[in-house]
Symmetry: C2
Subunit: 333 residues, 2 copies
């Protein structure tokens, strides 16, 4: 893979801000890679970048049009196709995190072939992976793990990358999901890998490196999620993490998508993740807790984070409200 | 799926007995489904069935030619192709557990299309699965789990099916690997499923059933295997097992394929499997230990099994040497 930037972020006819979540993530974490946003008639979203036409974007140096919008059913609508094909004609590659592949749209596929441009369907791994070998490798790795799905693992990993780089440390975010891959320009959508190769794909994603280099690996799912725990365990073993950061959203009534399942106790969550991590890295330890406290007011946030910090003796922060400085402190301390 | 029997077992030009391992398994567990074995010149293996030609097999009622031989590199050799195509012409379906698909051999694929016969590449799931939902379902389920890969999980599951049926209990083996699928005539090769769907595929494989019915689900890998634990955990959650049987081979120097990894302590193995199983079935408990003691003499076998039985207070047997009666006793007791 390796998606070329600068990007134009395509918001299509996104009916609301949530539909442009992917573009939002790219604009937040890789603003310097983005020359602008491209919106069609009816678009009700913005990611705060200047609006550009394809021609203006290309003139500004853009290399790839990133489909940063999810529409109902993940389909690539007729109205988008004209824009996508014109982008190819202007010399851009296309990248998308949608379920339905760009390459499955005949007109888009044919134009890309004719013009020798690349289509990156980042949700669908194209590479073959080896089975994980579990052999110790050099470099340092941090993995975000969760009490549940969608609790901020990607955000936390990226915030740690940003904090480490600001301190002059060598660090790279390693993406395991579609938005993360568009942000990193590379990565593996691990939940789309054939299950025999989960840990092998993760080993490939975070290869041996210098002793002072940190890979910040985006976690997926939760060991306590009845649908996806297999992915989480393969990722944990393949990552061979030195450090774990537990991500959590206080107050969820049940596990995402599973009304019959309560959230796990966080002590058990830390303990089981560390225990399983020790199989491939006996040095693994939890270094912090990152909470999404968007549902809490200032007093509630302080109380929730204070309780976690006291109970576990670990820094507990909301990466959005406070950044992740205390977690990086704990890591280097 | 659902592969029609009776079978003819195709041993091809198997250079030795080990190459015919799949056919061996089918002949051992489904002898009544097999009208005979078909061997080419140079075959040095037998599964103890009468040799038949394709014509004789068809005359005896065969519906499917089962490729029960693994050759170097998993390829379908030129010399086999003539036999496979002739089988299709005589009205047989083909089934294979090889990595390389029957349907990837142009001459075989074209003959099957022309003659409207089915090709079953059982290592490659063709169905789409839902994400696991974790909802409790009726019926009873037993899952074999392992200290390692290739420690007799399929054999143990099948031995329990046979023992239960001999006692008049209602029980069905549920296959999760290629040899098991050829034995059952149906199943899912879970390690070839996209990783998001491991537990969903297992839920599909062992659906709700009557309260007195047992599904005996073939386990895969081990929670302690650095390459494959993700598959094992997804399978454990999707199976929602009431009963676990731990399979083990005493004396292994290291985990299969991983020279740097020792076998886990069996107490930890039981504890971690039960703990993870409790997520989707709080009633899960280990009911027995099945050991492959083929490397031990009679005294060594008695000592090894006696120690395990004393330590864990569970029946410990070698299914080959002693059957699994004591495990079924513990289950119904």
């Amino acid at each position: 893979m390796s998606i070329a930037h600068p990007y134009i972020l395509f918001l299509g006819d996104a009916p609301d801000q949530l539909a442009a979540k992917t573009a939002n993530g790219v604009a937040m974490w890789r603003r310097s890679w983005c020359v602008g946003q491209l919106r069609l008639a009816g678009c009700n979203a913005t990611v705060g970048l200047p609006d550009v036409t394809l021609e203006e974007g290309v003139a500004a140096g853009a290399k790839t049009l990133v489909v940063g919008v999810a529409n109902r059913g993940g389909r690539i609508s007729e109205v988008w196709q004209q824009t996508l094909i014109k982008a190819l004609e202007l010399g851009l590659d296309l990248a998308s995190g949608l379920h339905n592949r760009l390459s499955a749209v005949p007109a888009v596929r044919e134009a890309a072939q004719r013009l020798d441009r690349s289509l990156f369907d980042v949700r669908h791994p194209t590479r073959e992976f080896d089975v994980g070998n579990g052999e110790p490798r050099s470099g340092k790795r941090l993995l975000t793990v969760g009490s549940d799905c969608s609790v901020g693992k990607m955000f936390t990993s990226l915030a740690i990358e940003r904090e480490m780089r600001a301190r002059g440390m060598r660090a790279d975010f390693r993406a395991t999901g579609q938005t993360g891959i568009l942000i990193a320009g590379d990565g593996v959508s691990v939940d789309a890998v054939v299950s025999d190769f989960i840990s092998g794909a993760t080993e490939w994603l975070s290869p041996a490196n210098d002793d002072d280099h940190w890979d910040l690996i985006e976690g997926q799912g939760s060991l306590f999620h009845a649908s996806f725990a297999g992915v989480s365990l393969g990722l944990l073993h393949g990552a061979q993490p030195h450090a774990l950061v537990l991500c959590h959203e206080p107050g969820r009534p049940h596990m995402r998508g599973l009304p019959g399942y309560k959230l796990p106790d966080l002590g058990q969550c830390i303990e089981l993740n560390e225990r399983c991590a020790h199989l491939t890295n006996p040095a693994a330890r939890t270094v912090g807790i990152a909470c999404n406290t968007s549902g809490l007011d200032a007093a509630g946030t302080d109380r929730a984070l204070g309780e976690l910090a006291d109970r576990f003796g670990l820094p507990a922060v909301d990466p959005v409200k406070h950044g992740v400085g205390p977690i990086v402190d704990a890591l280097v301390g």
